[in-house]
């Protein structure tokens, strides 16, 4: 049986950063297990720029960003099992894996880092009625067809949803000569980054239809059109407002779901608010020795944040192997107050924090000129002014160690305070 100190499940940005950091922090043998034939994950199909502005202070494409980590991974002598699938994980940290060259086998490791990423919500997950023709794609699948396989998916395109991949794809398809007729957002604001709305839609004169949705797909064999309706303030379609748009393709960018089938099988506690494992300050899940990072924990917009978070997970995994991670002591829980959808991490053990704690969170709606208030019990420990916050952009709050060490309550909460003036 092959043994490793640390096994990293997934070779995308999260897995790469975690593996490198585990190795740098003393794990002797690290193995990255990746299901695709190459490392880099979804970055390899993200051929646009905008990656690495925070980590490298450079504007890189997805493959370029990935390449920096892949190079370092090779320098660090980390084992890679490509084209390899992890089929199961148990609490004792045995992994059943399979590929075409080693065959089917069980490996035993001292620590696991879960970095499986996320998958896209489908037409069926959001229940669009109508027929079931070809020509309905999720944005990521279309992106793979275009950027990896080199095929076009359609000529006249309607898009539902304004996730970042969708916005990027609207531009990409336009550049390939397709007509993107409109991009619809069910809510009154787009779901992705504002910079993507500007650079991918406005710059190409692609109409953004806020408060619209698709209520029916038409076409027997291939999509022939979609029925578009206006939505009310609760994002429900308004009867009587339907209008048929002819198109041959419907692209969906309607959200991402952390991919946690393996985590659930290993008995890891999942946070319903994120769809990912409940983690602590070290990115350790509810099962000791199993860590998680990146989009498997919660969906990020910026790969730079994924890298930061995953470095922490990798380092912690190495510390766990070296028995340097404090398992007990005080534990503080985080709590999402008004206007906050979720906070990661969900649990904090101050004993494991060296300089500061980063709290990542998303807000539930659009907030202008408001404040993020961090409270310990009833005591306000931090208040941050925010010009604008949207659910599409993740917020980060940094809390120095000295504050954390002197908290009186075992709950740390964050809420949004609207400015009434």
């Amino acid at each position: 049986m092959e043994r490793f100190d640390v096994a990293v499940v997934g070779g995308g940005p999260a897995g790469l950063a975690a593996a490198i950091e585990a190795k740098k922090n003393g794990a002797e043998s690290v193995c990255v297990i990746e299901r695709d034939k190459e490392l880099g994950g979804i970055l390899q199909q993200c051929i646009h720029n905008g990656f690495g502005l925070q980590i490298f202070k450079e504007d890189l494409t997805g493959p370029e960003y990935a390449e920096r980590f892949i190079t370092e991974l090779k320098e660090q002598n980390i084992t890679c099992k490509l084209d390899t699938m992890v089929l199961s994980i148990d609490k004792d940290r045995n992994l059943d894996i399979v590929n075409t060259y080693d065959g089917y086998m069980r490996i035993k490791v001292k620590a696991i880092v879960l970095a499986m990423g996320c998958r896209e919500r489908t037409r069926e997950a959001i229940n669009i009625p109508g027929t079931r023709p070809s020509g309905v794609f999720t944005a990521g699948t279309a992106q793979r067809f275009l950027n990896i396989e080199g095929y076009l998916v359609g000529k006249k395109i309607m898009m539902l949803g304004t996730g970042d991949i969708g916005l990027i794809m609207a531009r990409r398809l336009t550049l390939e000569g397709a007509e993107v007729k409109a991009v619809l957002a069910r809510k009154g604001y787009p779901g992705g980054l504002m910079r993507n709305v500007a650079q991918c839609l406005y710059d190409y004169n692609i109409p953004l239809m806020l408060r619209h949705t698709i209520v029916k797909v038409a076409g027997k064999d291939r999509v022939e059109g979609v029925l578009v309706a206006k939505t009310d303030e609760k994002s429900r379609p308004i009867p009587g407002t339907e209008e048929l748009y002819e198109c041959d393709t419907l692209l969906l960018s309607v959200g991402l779901i952390p991919e946690n089938e393996l985590s659930k099988e290993a008995g890891i506690e999942i946070d319903p608010a994120t769809g990912g494992p409940v983690v602590n300050e070290s990115m350790e899940t509810s099962v000791g020795g199993i860590f998680a990072c990146g989009n498997v924990v919660h969906v990020h917009n910026l790969v730079d944040y994924v890298t930061e978070e995953s470095r922490r997970a990798g380092k912690s995994a190495a510390q766990f192997v070296a028995k340097e991670l404090a398992a007990d002591g005080t534990t503080i829980s985080t709590e999402s107050g008004a206007g906050i959808k979720y906070i990661v991490p969900q649990r904090i053990r101050p004993a494991n924090i060296r300089e500061r704690l980063d709290l990542y969170m998303r807000v539930t709606g659009i907030f202008k000129d408001s404040k993020l208030i961090v409270k310990s019990g009833n005591e306000v420990i931090k208040s941050i002014k925010k010009k604008q916050m949207t659910p599409g952009e993740m917020e980060r709050i940094r809390i120095p160690l000295n504050i954390l060490e002197n908290l009186n309550a075992d709950v740390l909460s964050v809420h949004v305070e609207r400015n009434n003036t």
Binding site: R119, R144, Y151
Partner: protein, 511 residues
Amino acid sequence: MHVYSINLLAIVYKAPYYRAYRKDLNLMYDAAVIGAGIIGTSVARELSKYPLKTALIEKGSDVAVGTTKANSGIIHAGYDAEPGTNKAKFNALGNPMFDKLCSDLDVTFKRTGSLVIAFNSRDMETVRELYKRGLKNGIPEMHILDDREVKEIEPNLNNSIVGALYASTAGIIDPWELAIALAENAAENGVELLFNHKVTAIEKLKGSFIIRTPETSFESRYIVNCAGLYADEINNMVASPFFKITPRRGQYFVLDKNTGKLVNTVVFQCPGKTSKGVLLTSSVHGNLLIGPDSQVLADRENVETTADRLKFVRETASKTCDNIPFNTTIKTFAGLRATPDTGDFIIAESKDAPGFINAAGIESPGLSSAPAIAEYVVELLKERAGHFKAKKNFNPVRRKAVKFMKLSFDEKVKLVQKDPAYGRIICRCENITEGEIIAAIRRKAGATTLNGVKRRVRPGMGRCQGGFCGPRVMEILARELGMDMKDIVKEEKESYILTGRTKGEQIYRGK
């Protein structure tokens, strides 16, 4: 040996107008089965037991692309139908045949039993009525249960249930898996499968028929009409109209795997006039299946789902159980029942076209009745032909398909050593290997489309609905079939997925 060949020659020379057709009349059969749904495939496989040259002619691109791909997948016990009807007769005969059939064909079949639940005394009346009907139909192992007994079998159902009819012989099956297995076994035993052949005309000759499709024409001595929603149109091509098929749509929810555990049996509400009521069951794969409603339509192609009807299904099902996890829905779909205006299955030789046999109007319990209908159709053919003995070399057993995840640790190790293609997982929702997909393409009656692969080995059936595995399955299909990925379709000819190469690829390839 074709016993009719001398006769046939005589016909050819007696009919001068017929010679003009000879050029495109490249094939001759003893029997032609029109329609490759559950009835057509059952009949074709039954015919393959005899030394006949048989063709299975299908307008779609694959087996089971009509009603067979979108129904409840229930093998009914047989208490529903009015005693004395074909529905009652063939359901009662068909149900016990499934154990042997499914074991021979390596198809998953589970006798889960069924409940018809009652919410009040009027429903209990219906339950007792169904029980009596079941007795008349000769259905074994039925019991009327009280609320406590129902709770024991189904602890997750609502407390408002006062009793139920329990029938232990009901079961669940994957209908397209069965149809595909039947077609494959029929093909192994010599039946020719002709897909993408839409029958547009049938001409009656003396002692045979000419079947015309846009591509080619066939001559066949006998025809079995298993055309489902279009059975009346096929009948009317050669015989006088005497029945009409009306499509009756039903819509369903399919929930994620492991939700099927919610119930242990097939749970029906008391039947209404047109359907057996909204049911709740696990699929053989562990998904919870909820539906159908019943809606009469005019369009025989209208398999649209609609928000209002799905809402109705959801609300109705909630009366059975208010803890259905609808938030784990992975698919909704609609299917069309081929409802005949005669009210019963039409299984008989045409009066004005001897040798033309209708197996028409096969709505529920058609799947349950299919093996019995097939046997009966062959009896009818024997009556007409007067002679044909069973083949000695008929092989009823279909080669087992590997289901990688169902193997033991050691079996998995050995299989991947032997064939590394089983070491590559293509579908991560259902953990389907490349080896399984290749086998599904290479087998007889193999997959040629994305949905064809999905129906055979399930990549794309899971929660990602093919988002991850779709491109990779297309790649395997293209490689195995010697096609360009661009030409791989989802289902029918016009259901193209890709529209061309990207600019970069065009330059790279020098085009």
